[in-house]
Symmetry: C2
Subunit: 302 residues, 2 copies
C-alpha cells in the first residue's frame, strides 16, 4: 500500500496553483465552476526556461492595463531583460535601471516621451456586483481579505476601496518615490508576500502558470545597486512578451481559473483549513493566509 507522505495530502489542492493540468479530472469541480481567461487579459512571457502566463485584472487598474496592452502591441519588452531579481522578493523587468522608465531623473527621455508617467491606481472602487469571496478569517495587514476572480484582494469597509494583495506571483508596475511615476517597468513577486507594498504600488495581474520559470531567473546581489545585475550577460532575457489576443488564434494557449465565488473553491478552502487528520496529528489553527491559498488553474483545450 502506498503511504501518504509529506506532500501527498496537499497535492490535490496545491497542484492547480503550481502548474496547470492538461485536462480536467473527472472528479474535479463541475464545468460551470471554471471561468475562461480572456485572451485580452492573458500575457505570455517567454523566458529561456519556459513561458510564464499572467492574467490581468482591468477592473483594478484600467489605465495600467491599457498601458501594458499598448506596450505589448508595440513589442516594447521583446529582447529586454529581467535586470533586477532579488531572491525572496521580486523579479523586475523592462527597459533597465536608470531609464526614464523608473528614474525620477530620466537618462532615456525618448521612452518617457512615448510612455509618460501614469496616475497611480493603488486601489479601486469595485463594482457592487464584484464577486468578492471572503477568506473567512482575520488578516494581519488588511481589514478584510478574500478573492475576486482568483485574485487575492484586500478591502477596507470604511472607504469601500479594494486592492490586489502583493502575494507571490502578483504582477505590478514599479515606480519612483512619487506616486504617479510608473511608466513601463514591471515586477512580479517571487518571495514571501511583501505586504508592506499593498496599496503602495499598482498591482494588476497574477501569474497563473509557469511560476517555476521565474524562480530560475538569475539573481542580483541586493547589496549592490539595489539588486540590479551589473553583468548584462547574466541578466535573463525576456525573449518575447505578448498578449494572447495578438497571437494567431490557433497558437493561443487557453486557460481556465476556478471561480473563487463557487462552492468548489469554498470546499477547497475548507479542506486546507482542516487538513487531513491522518497526517496532521496536531490540528493547525483554523486560519488561512490569503497568499497561501492557491487558486486552481487549468490549461484548457479550446
Amino acid at each position: 500500500m502506498k503511504a501518504l507522505r509529506l506532500t501527498a495530502l496537499l497535492v490535490a489542492f496545491w497542484a492547480a496553483g503550481a502548474s496547470a493540468a492538461d485536462a480536467p479530472k473527472p472528479e474535479g469541480p463541475p464545468a460551470k465552476d471554471w471561468r475562461d481567461v480572456s485572451p485580452e487579459n492573458l500575457v505570455l512571457i517567454e523566458t529561456r526556461y519556459g513561458t510564464v502566463a499572467v492574467e490581468l485584472a482591468p477592473e483594478f487598474a484600467p489605465r495600467h492595463v491599457e498601458r501594458l496592452r499598448n506596450l505589448l502591441h508595440a513589442h516594447f519588452y521583446d529582447g529586454r531583460s529581467f535586470y533586477r531579481v532579488i531572491d525572496g522578493f521580486v523579479a523586475q523587468g523592462g527597459a533597465d535601471q536608470d531609464t526614464s522608465a523608473t528614474a525620477d531623473a530620466p537618462v532615456n527621455p525618448e521612452i518617457l516621451k512615448a510612455w509618460p508617467p501614469l496616475t497611480a491606481e493603488f486601489d479601486a472602487a469595485l463594482p457592487a456586483n464584484a464577486r468578492f469571496a471572503p477568506l473567512g478569517n482575520p488578516d494581519l495587514f488588511a481589514p478584510q481579505v478574500g478573492h475576486v476572480d482568483g485574485f487575492p484582494v484586500g478591502r477596507d469597509p470604511k472607504d469601500k476601496r479594494s486592492w490586489i494583495i502583493q502575494c507571490p506571483g502578483v504582477f505590478a508596475f514599479a515606480r519612483d518615490n512619487a506616486d504617479n511615476t510608473a511608466t513601463t517597468e514591471f515586477y512580479i513577486v517571487i518571495g514571501q508576500a511583501p505586504r508592506r507594498l499593498d496599496r503602495n504600488l499598482t498591482a494588476f495581474g497574477r501569474v497563473i502558470d509557469g511560476m517555476q520559470y521565474l524562480q530560475k531567473l538569475n539573481r542580483g546581489d541586493p547589496d549592490v545597486d539595489s539588486g540590479v545585475i551589473a553583468d548584462k550577460s547574466q541578466q535573463d532575457p525576456i525573449i518575447r512578451m505578448q498578449l494572447a489576443s495578438d497571437m494567431p488564434e490557433g497558437e493561443r494557449p487557453h486557460y481556465q481559473v476556478l471561480r473563487t465565488e463557487s462552492a468548489s473553491f469554498a470546499e477547497l478552502k475548507a479542506k486546507r483549513r482542516h487538513p487531513a487528520p491522518e497526517f496532521y496529528h496536531r490540528k493547525p489553527l483554523a486560519n488561512l493566509d490569503i497568499c497561501g491559498v492557491p487558486v486552481p488553474v487549468r490549461r484548457a483545450t479550446p
Copy 2:
C-alpha cells in the same frame, strides 16, 4: 541624483537575509551583535547551481541533528537527488520515493535497518535562558512568535513548548503518516510558508545562504505522484552534502548571524515595521509576518 526605487529602500534590510555579504559594512551592527555559526551546525549542500548553507538548531531537535550529522559523516546524500520539488512549497531530497526512508512499507529495507525511524521532535522545552526575541505583534497560527538565534520560533505559553516555524528556507525531515517515521529524507521550504506543517514535522535548521540555488531546482508536477520527478535525468543531483566540521579547516566557509536578541536586530525590525515614508506613502499596518523578517547573515573571514 539617484532616485530611490521599489526595491532600493528595502535592500539594506533584505540583503543579508538573501545573500551573505563578503565583509562587514562599516556602518553595520557592531561586532558583538554577530554570532559565529559553529562548524558542527553548518551543512553545505552542493548543487549544480551553487552551494546552499544550512544552520542546524540542535536544541530544538537533538536526535534529528545527531542523525543528520551521522548521515553526513557517512556521505549518505552524496550523489542522491532532489527528487520531489514542488514549486511554491518544498524541495525534498534523499534516498528517493518508496525507499524505507519515506515509506511505511519499505522497498529498501537495508536503509531502514541502518537508519531506523526517529522519535518525532515536533517541539521542545527550551532552556530557561534561551534567547527568545518576541516579534512584537500577533500571528495567525501561533500564540507567540519570535526568534531564537536567528530561527523563526513559535511558542505556547500554556505548555511552554517551542518550535521552529515552517518559513521559507526552513530545513526539516519528512515522514510518513505516523509521527515517529522520519529516517533520512529531508525537505526545505521554498514557497510561501506552509504554516499547517508547524509542530507536525520536525524542523531543525534553516538556509543561511544560497536560497536562490534551491529555487533553480527542476520542479515536479504536483498532480503526478505527489510531485516526484519521474525522469531521473531531470532530478537535480545533490553533488555533495557535508558538515563544515568534516571539511579541512582551510576549506570551511565561515558565517555569522546577527544576534536576534540584540538591539541591532530590534532596530531592523522597527525599520521594517515603519518603512521609509519617502516611498511608502500609505503607512502599512505596523505588523510583521514572522516569515517575512530576514535575519542578516554574513560570510566572515576566519
